[in-house]
């Protein structure tokens, strides 16, 4: 299956990088789905939004201000900032639809997701792909090429991409674990747990939902932005099915620990994303067709949700058989 140990390591490292980058979306859902109890179906579109905004800043940013003399790395940093801002704006729209305009939560996500497809195409000037691969004529600097240049002469040159992904995940987990302990963070958690109680604490659940969705969507967009830069290309279809993959990671992570410190649970979500990627990478090696990824993720989501259900059903069946036997014995004893 693997030609050598080095081959296995490369595969593992790639799965780890992708796991970390997609893990960011899983972390976004950890906030919106696990904490706020909102299933945000605008995730796919928002992921693509982050991707396209980031790519546009990398490719066209320097041309917008040709005389500014701003270094190229400035645009790679700006790509992240802009992608996250765009993501939070999309989250704001989803939140306003469901908290102020009477649109059902799921529907709000679906509607925004659909609209984002047009928006994303419009942002890229109707290009289906935006290439960030440097050519002879032009060099593009992404956060990954920056990191590569920085670590060029160190022993970690091979791991330069990994560091970027690690740093992003570490920062987001650190942020989440601190944020969810603040008053607004606690209010967001309470909104998912008991909105009545939030109201009686004189806090408007519409407000907490809005803040939560803005933040989670900015993390989703960060995830998309980093994936495009990692692959050196933005594609309009980059986000399709991401919500299912992220949900699968979230659920895999949740299998290990339901309650506990936020930071640990968040970490496990990312571990879940890595496990998912690893399984997928191995399956590819075993000649699973590439286009099966989404089917696999769908199956994993269904399994993680329904296996506990079947275990319970099994227990009930067992108990019923036992009760039947006991009744049978009682009847026999009567005769």
């Amino acid at each position: 299956m693997f030609e050598s140990f080095a081959d296995f390591l490369t595969l593992g490292q790639n799965a780890l990088e992708l796991g970390l980058i997609y893990g960011l979306t899983a972390l976004a859902l950890f906030l919106s789905y696990s904490m706020l109890n909102v299933c945000d179906l605008s995730t796919d579109g928002c992921f693509t939004l982050g991707s396209v905004v980031g790519a546009m800043f990398i490719v066209y940013g320097p041309a917008w201000f040709p005389d500014s003399g701003l270094p190229l790395w400035f645009w790679s940093v700006m790509s992240i900032v802009a992608a996250m801002l765009a993501g939070s704006l999309s989250g704001l729209v989803t939140a306003v639809l469901q908290t102020r305009m009477g649109v059902q939560s799921l529907l709000a996500g679906i509607v925004v997701n659909t609209a984002l497809y047009s928006v994303n195409l419009a942002i890229s000037g109707n290009q289906v792909r935006v290439n960030m691969n440097s050519t002879f004529k032009k060099t593009y600097e992404t956060v990954f090429t920056e990191s590569k240049a920085l670590l060029q002469d160190t022993p970690f040159a091979q791991q330069s991409s990994l560091f970027v992904a690690l740093a992003a995940v570490a920062l987001v987990i650190l942020f989440l674990s601190l944020f969810l302990r603040t008053r607004i963070g606690l209010s967001i958690r309470a909104t998912g747990s008991n909105p009545d109680m939030v109201r009686s604490s004189s806090i408007n659940p519409a407000f907490t939902t809005t803040v939560g969705l803005c933040i989670s969507n900015s993390i989703t967009a960060l995830s998309g932005c980093l994936l495009a830069q990692h692959q050196k290309v933005h594609d309009i279809n980059i986000g399709i099915g991401v919500v299912t993959v992220a949900l699968a990671s979230l659920l895999i992570g949740g299998v290990f620990l339901r309650r506990g410190p936020i930071a640990v649970r968040a970490l496990l979500v990312v571990v879940g994303a890595f496990i998912f990627r690893m399984v997928y990478a191995v399956a590819l090696r075993l000649n699973m067709p590439t286009n099966m990824l989404r089917a696999v993720s769908a199956v994993i989501v269904v399994l993680t949700i329904s296996v506990p259900h079947f275990i319970n059903a099994g227990k009930r069946l067992h108990r019923r058989r036992q009760a039947n036997r006991e009744r049978g014995q009682a009847v026999r004893a009567d005769h």
Binding site: L178, R181, T182, R183, I184, L186, S187, R189, A190, G192, S193, N194, D196, M197, V198, R199, S200, S201, S202, I203, N204, P205, R259
Partner: protein
């Protein structure tokens, strides 16, 4: 002081299900008043509380709280001045969050980005110790693990952490066993007197309706039909109250019959 002036509420107006749940109810609650409310099922007691809390905007009338007109104020804004407990112990707390986090929200101190400090934790522990349920040693446990009585006591603590101007108790001991119910009632009384709160308490227990507080009102078919206080109330016995209650309920039945033409 809470002043309710002629508020009405009809549910599902204009349909066959139209239900006049509050019929020009007026009531003045002085600071330090502890009013017990009795009335048959469906008399409109909880609906009166919902109106005061702002779960809906009333069809007519005005509600004043200390010279502030709160008739149109949003529910979460009124919550700053009004504390409320429900019959269901699950309603007042967030089960997935720890006792500490629940209390932190109820305390609501500091800005949006402030966190629970060591001083806050000590304050939480001190308050919890007053309940005498050992909750002060379980700050980090999720509230979902507590029993109904413990949760209700915690909710009481949370609703009065920052003393509100009015405290509304909707059969808040109905789901508890007699011993725990008594404990929670004693606690209620103490918190109400200590903070000199205006308090309204719905109960189906005629004994506690007379024992607790200084005033008793009876509701029927969306109206206040009796308002007993002072000497008259002290002389009143449970049997008299039950008699009065049956009489009112009977009247309601009679009017229904008249309407149905039987």
């Amino acid at each position: 002081m809470l002043t309710i002036d002629a508020i009405s509420k009809t549910f599902n107006p204009g349909t066959v299900d139209a239900k006049l749940a509050l019929d020009h109810v007026s009531l003045t609650v002085e600071d330090g008043d502890f009013i017990t409310i009795i009335g048959a099922n469906g008399a409109g007691k909880s609906t009166l509380f919902n109106a005061i809390c702002g779960s809906f905007i009333t069809d007519t009338g005005t509600i004043w709280l200390n010279d502030r007109n709160i008739t149109m104020m949003a529910e979460h804004k009124r919550a700053r001045y009004i504390g409320r407990l429900y019959q269901d112990p699950m309603r007042g707390t967030a089960p997935d969050m720890s006792i500490e986090d629940n209390l932190a929200l109820a305390a609501g101190k500091g800005g949006w980005l402030s966190m629970v400090s060591r001083r806050d934790k000590q304050a939480f522990r001190d308050r919890l110790a007053l309940l005498g349920m050992g909750l002060e040693d379980r700050l980090k446990q999720p509230v979902g693990l507590l029993s109904g009585g413990q949760r209700q006591a915690l909710t009481l603590l949370m609703a009065t952490y920052n003393p509100p101007q009015v405290l509304l108790l909707d059969e808040h001991t109905a789901a508890l066993d007699p011993a725990t119910a008594e404990k929670v009632l004693a606690l209620t009384e103490r918190i109400v007197t200590e903070n000199n709160l205006a308090c309204l308490m719905i109960t189906h227990n005629m004994q506690s309706a007379l024992d607790l507080g200084n005033r008793t009102i009876m509701m029927n078919a969306g109206r206040i039909i009796d308002d007993i206080s002072g000497k008259k109330r002290r002389k009143l016995k449970v049997e008299d109250l039950v008699e009065r209650f049956k009489e009112a309920a009977g009247q309601a039945l009679d009017t229904d019959r008249m309407l149905l033409g039987t």
